[in-house]
């Protein structure tokens, strides 16, 4: 296993995309955090406002989660896109150790990325506000750990999608299209009276459920005034839905990786 970890650590350090995904994710988040800190400099520094700045957009902090997912897709998808799976498997024939090492290293980089981003955004808050947000206040004390879990899950999702589709383009399309089009469509259709049988399914839409991990609003207000009918799960239960979805994708990808020709 240590051999596989050394390999994967060398792999992720020696491609440019790791650096631009890391740097761009942190930079964009910091810019948004700076704008939000500036425009709220005279407001009450509530936990909700604090989460906007620290996450660089609060509930809409999507850059780092998507960027770590893409980093995960590259970890597995590049092996097939560039044919490096052959030298990789003739160097490390133990497929489970290889996939596990990819997960661990991408997750480690994702955690480092979120830590750097939070530290920078904390500094930005201190600059514009003259004080730092109270990390123990509601909902920051839930949002920050939820943010870390959300990013870790996105990193795992990326690795799993890249491995499942054995390439980059399809995995990225699924990553972006599912939440933006498929899930939005299902939620929209559930408002049609004839299709109201979709309402119970909405709380199981994985990406919407995952986003609850960084939510600052209560679950029964997730989609506005009529949200109660959806019976959306609370933060950690909704995170469990997202995690279960990722676990299924990862299990299928792992099984196929073991069984399919390289």
């Amino acid at each position: 296993m240590s051999d596989a970890l050394r390999f994967e650590w060398a792999r992720i350090r020696t491609i440019r995309s790791t650096y631009w995904l890391f740097g761009l994710g942190v930079l964009i988040t910091a810019i948004i955090a700076g704008i939000l800190a500036y425009v709220t400099r005279n407001d009450d520094k509530t936990g909700e406002v604090g989460s906007w700045v620290l996450l660089g957009g609060g509930e809409f902090a999507t850059f780092i989660p998507i960027f770590v997912a893409i980093m995960g897709i590259f970890a597995t998808g590049h092996e097939y896109r560039f044919g490096t799976i052959q030298p990789t498997l003739t160097t490390l024939p133990q497929r489970s150790a290889l996939l596990l090492s990819k997960l661990l290293v991408v997750v480690a980089v994702a955690v480092a990325m979120v830590a750097v981003s939070l530290a920078i955004n904390l500094g930005i808050a201190a600059i514009f506000w003259g004080e730092v947000p109270d990390l123990g206040s509601e909902p920051l004390n839930q949002v920050i750990p939820g943010y870390v879990v959300y990013i870790v899950l996105n990193a795992i999702l990326g690795v799993a999608l890249g491995q499942l589709f054995r390439g980059v383009p399809t995995a990225i399309v699924v990553l972006l299209v599912t939440p933006l089009i498929v899930e939005t469509l299902v939620i929209g259709l559930s408002n049609v009276p004839a299709l109201d049988w979709l309402i119970p399914a909405v709380k199981f839409l994985p990406f919407n459920a995952g986003a609850r991990l960084i939510a600052t609003t209560p679950a029964n207000e997730a989609f506005g005034p009529d949200s109660a009918q959806y019976e959306i799960f609370e933060r950690w239960a909704a995170g469990g839905v997202f995690a279960a979805f990722i676990a299924i994708i990862l299990a299928v990808a792992w099984f196929l990786f073991q069984k399919r020709d390289a």
């Binding site: 596989a4 050394r6 020696t14 030298p87 003739t90 160097t91 399919r260 390289a262």
Partner: protein, 319 residues
């Protein structure tokens, strides 16, 4: 020593590799030949556990996937351009070295050995096929392995590169290493290989020495140059030989050994200017052995262009 036993691979109804059993011995270069689509690459992938199928391959008694740090024992390259285009050549090798506890100093050694020292910090997306092959060979040699498995390593190499590759592989074999290499360059294989594994449509056609292969799939002729060609041709035909008169007047004799031809000439007092065994090439033997198993058969140029075939001498005479 590589021992492949009962290798078999199916893609739906198509049998790509059909019950292949062979050994690759240390101290020799073993060539792996077959027409396009014969199953050479699939066989190598099966041997290395990249593809799943039936049968088993053992490397000194162990399966590939059971070998810890395999680069130190088996250097394998099946694809010339299997690298990330923006990872430098040196980083590509360092990444692989890291997985097998090979020191970074060895990376620079093998890059120097294959002649890529000057471009080690360059991204291989701009490498020619020949440079990519050299990087692949550097990868195979990284762990200074006892066994080498190379799929078409000479593709894209210039004549100097091919000569260099032959020297490297032969010298490694001379040191007791096991070298298993596929190639379509039959003239090169004739110079390089000691043993052959020849397959067609996934089936074994031949496994043995190069000389045996040529002997088995071609017939040797005797080349005779003499000022008394007509008379000697009649004498040889009377002795049961088949004689073909060449354009330069020399005789190509089949059905008699060289010594027998010489003895007849001596007996009849025929003056000989040249008497030599005319051996068929590996290419001729390969064409003879694999002709019926060729999967992708090209058409003649005239047929493709819809032209009538060029007139023969006979046609001209008739006209």
């Amino acid at each position: 020593m590589i021992t492949a036993q009962g290798l078999r691979k199916r893609y739906g109804d198509t049998v790509a590799v059909d019950d292949l059993t062979f050994e690759v011995k240390p101290g020799l270069v073993t060539g792996f030949l077959g027409p396009n689509g014969a199953g050479k690459s699939t066989t190598m992938r099966l041997m290395l556990g990249l593809d799943y199928g039936e049968g088993e391959t053992q490397f000194d008694g162990r399966r590939f996937r059971d070998i810890h740090d395999p680069m130190n024992e088996i250097g394998a390259v099946l694809e010339a351009r299997a690298f990330h285009p923006t990872r430098t050549a040196r980083n590509h090798l360092r990444m692989l070295a890291a997985a097998n506890r090979i020191p970074n100093s060895r990376v620079d050694e093998v890059l120097d050995l294959v002649g890529l020292s000057d471009v080690k910090a360059k991204k291989p997306k701009g490498f020619s096929l020949g440079m990519s092959q050299r990087l692949g060979l550097a990868q195979a040699l990284l762990g200074d392995p006892q066994t080498l498995i190379l799929d078409e390593p000479a593709n894209g190499l210039d004549p100097h590169g091919i000569h260099w590759l032959r020297d490297v592989l032969k010298s490694l074999a001379a040191k007791g290493r096991t070298v298993f290499v596929s190639s379509h360059l039959l003239s090169e294989m004739q110079l390089m290989a000691d043993e052959l594994v020849v397959i067609g449509r996934g089936k074994m056609i031949f496994n043995g020495s190069v000389d045996q292969f040529v002997e088995q799939f071609t017939k040797s002729d005797v080349l005779v140059k003499t000022p008394s060609a007509d008379a000697f041709a009649e004498t040889l035909q009377a002795s049961g030989a088949e004689v073909a008169v060449q354009d330069d007047g020399s005789l190509l004799v089949s059905g008699l050994e060289t010594a027998a031809v010489g003895e007849i000439a001596h007996r009849d007092g025929i003056l000989l200017h040249e008497l030599a065994t005319h051996r068929a090439s590996l290419e001729q033997a390969f064409m003879s052995a694999t002709g019926s198993t060729e999967q992708f058969i090209a058409h003649e140029v005239a047929e493709v262009l819809g032209e009538a075939p060029a007139p023969t001498t006979e046609d001209k005479e008739t006209a």
